[in-house]
């Protein structure tokens, strides 16, 4: 095990690398207002972050990551373009695996730059590749924007597109929705009875609660409209399902996605962005011919990445989390920007894991 002093020294060294790459060092408070994080991530964050409270400020969270406070800081006062770096502890509640750290050092690099999105993606990825070079890590990449574009272009009702979009980051629920919209899952008997009923409110007792009868009626209307819509199917559905499975060396994966774009034309701009990114990576010396690309990569992480995503993993060490992860989070800047937004991409490293792997090899 690396000592705390060793990890701190490595974190400082990594931060200097990022400073030399042009980043400004920033600090963020350890205690974050819980409300904002809950609003962004929902109740699931409580399983991953430590919550504490006092009578004055209410619920606070020990920072589970730096991205949200750094974005907030930039949106409030940052000049453009901007590059930031930071090093410090993050805290992750562990409820099922006692072997996983609940407190560890993270070093990050974030780029807020509207000039050239592909170049910014490539800059971050190349910088992280360089920093972890020598550890023999496997790089994983993907682009959540492709799947989002595919869903946005589905020829079905707006309600179905919205439902699928909402669950992009929950693959299991996404699949269940697809099965239902495609008519593969039988309609639950109670649903069938509800839609056939002349008086859905025959046996309701009293009207109670904040959710009103009118809201219930509105949803029954939505369900009726959905039942009347033709099932999702045909070439488009097949293409969407094939898209989620695409995985291989980047040029091969991209070729497959190009073919799927015949049935899903709305993904073309996202594919162009991917192509431009690969060219920018190549220009920075990355061998993209062997770089792995997975269309579904990053869907189970915290739901703020909405474009390029990447991670670096130690092969044969499935017991270890990723050594580095990152991605593009344009939508997060919109959520936190009070009306303004800026393309943003970044990543984080775990110096403790780097030392551990070096000691093992």
């Amino acid at each position: 095990m690396a000592t705390r002093a060793e990890v701190l020294a490595r974190a400082a060294a990594l931060r200097s690398v990022f400073e030399r790459a042009g980043a400004l060092t920033v600090e963020t408070p350890i205690l974050q207002p819980a409300e904002l994080l809950l609003d962004l991530y929902g109740e699931d964050i409580r399983a991953r972050a430590y919550v504490t409270s006092d009578a004055l400020r209410g619920e606070q969270m020990l920072r589970p990551d730096f991205t949200v406070p750094v974005v907030q800081m930039h949106m409030a006062q940052g000049a453009e373009p901007a590059r930031y770096t930071y090093a410090g502890e993050v805290f992750r509640r562990q409820e099922s695996d006692a072997g996983r750290a609940n407190e560890y050092m993270q070093v990050g690099y974030e780029v807020f730059d509207r000039a050239d999105v592909a170049a910014a993606d490539a800059e971050v990825f190349a910088l992280f590749s360089e920093v972890v070079a020598g550890l023999g890590l496997r790089a994983a990449t993907g682009d959540i924007g492709i799947l989002m574009a595919a869903v946005a272009g589905l020829e079905t009702t707006e309600a179905r597109r919205a439902a699928l979009m909402r669950h992009i980051w929950r693959p299991k629920r996404f699949r269940a929705l697809i099965d239902r919209f495609a008519g593969r899952t039988p309609v639950p008997p109670t649903r069938a009875a509800l839609l056939a009923s002349d008086d859905p409110f025959a046996d309701i007792g009293a009207d109670i609660g904040v959710r009103t009868r009118e809201e219930v009626e509105a949803r029954i209307e939505t369900l009726r409209a959905d039942a009347a819509s033709p099932p999702l199917g045909g070439a488009q559905l097949a293409a969407l399902e094939a898209l989620a499975e695409v995985r291989g060396p980047s040029p091969v994966a991209l070729k497959r996605l190009d073919r799927l774009a015949g049935d899903l034309p709305t993904i073309r701009p996202a594919l162009e962005r991917t192509r431009a990114r690969l060219a920018a990576m190549e220009a920075r010396g990355i061998d993209t011919a062997t770089l792995d690309f997975e269309a579904s990569y990053g869907r189970t992480s915290m739901e703020y990445y909405d474009g390029f995503v990447f991670g670096f993993y130690a092969p044969g060490r499935d017991d270890l989390p990723a050594v580095a992860t990152g991605g593009r989070y344009d939508a997060l800047t919109r959520r936190l920007g009070n009306g303004s937004e800026i393309p943003a991409v970044g990543g984080v490293l775990r110096p403790g894991l780097m030392i551990l792997l070096e000691a093992g090899s």
Partner: protein, 229 residues
């Protein structure tokens, strides 16, 4: 050292536990005045009775301060994330049956499954500007259950009692609570979701795997297990 058996200190749960052991030839009793929490064990050697709140039994077992304890499955699963490695289930005791369920107002004719709950939560948040509130005291079990089912746009709010009343009082839109007959739910105009069963619970005798056992404790344990196993 003696083998410590933790038993709920009050009410029906205590009485039923005493009856259950009595049927197996082990007499548990409270000693001293009505108000004193002291107890005795007769009919078996080397076992001491510890009377405590059912809610504290999980913690005491996990800390190894008692060797055996009686409490509901619901409390063990809620309070101990790693209960499988800390405890062994000795015997379900056949009483204290209760289901932890998700319940919503009967007014919600459109909501019968978790799938519906998720869709209703999305619409609710869009309309009211806050996430659909689910009142419970079983935070961990409820969150894991809903997360596993991919339900989003809800918030858990803490309710340590009279949870069935929170919907009418408009401090929550739905609840996750223990029910045995469902009567209290019905009386409060609520219904259980078709796939809303989180956990079936009953009073259970547990053994701590982390407590220290002296040789005489092992003997007492073996004798007890023979009677109740």
């Amino acid at each position: 050292m003696t083998l410590k058996l933790g038993v709920p200190s009050k009410g029906r749960l205590m009485e039923k536990t005493f009856d259950w052991f009595a049927e197996r030839g082990i007499a548990l009793s409270r000693t001293g005045s009505d108000r004193e929490y002291a107890g005795a064990v007769e009919g078996i050697e080397g076992i001491a009775l510890v009377l405590l709140s059912a809610g504290e039994v999980p913690r005491e077992l996990a800390a190894g301060r008692i060797h055996l304890g009686v409490t509901g499955t619901d409390l063990i699963h809620e309070k101990l994330a790693l209960w499988q490695s800390q405890l062994a289930e000795v015997a379900p005791m056949g009483f204290g049956h209760a289901d932890l369920v998700i319940a919503v107002p009967r007014l919600w004719a459109d909501v019968d499954t978790l799938d519906d709950l998720d869709a209703a939560a999305a619409a609710f948040r869009a309309r009211h500007g806050y996430r659909l509130r689910i009142a419970t005291k079983y935070h961990r079990l409820t969150r894991e259950f809903l997360q596993g089912a991919g339900v989003a746009d809800y918030a858990l709010v803490d309710s340590q009692g009279a949870t069935e009343g929170t919907v009418k009082n408009e401090t929550a839109e739905a609840i996750a609570d223990i029910t045995s007959s469902g009567e209290t739910l019905r009386a409060n105009h609520l219904k259980i979701l078709a796939d809303g069963l989180i956990l079936q619970s009953q009073a259970t005798l547990w053994q701590s795997l982390v407590a220290e056992y002296a040789p005489e404790d092992r003997k007492a344990l073996a004798a007890l297990l023979e009677r109740v196993g």
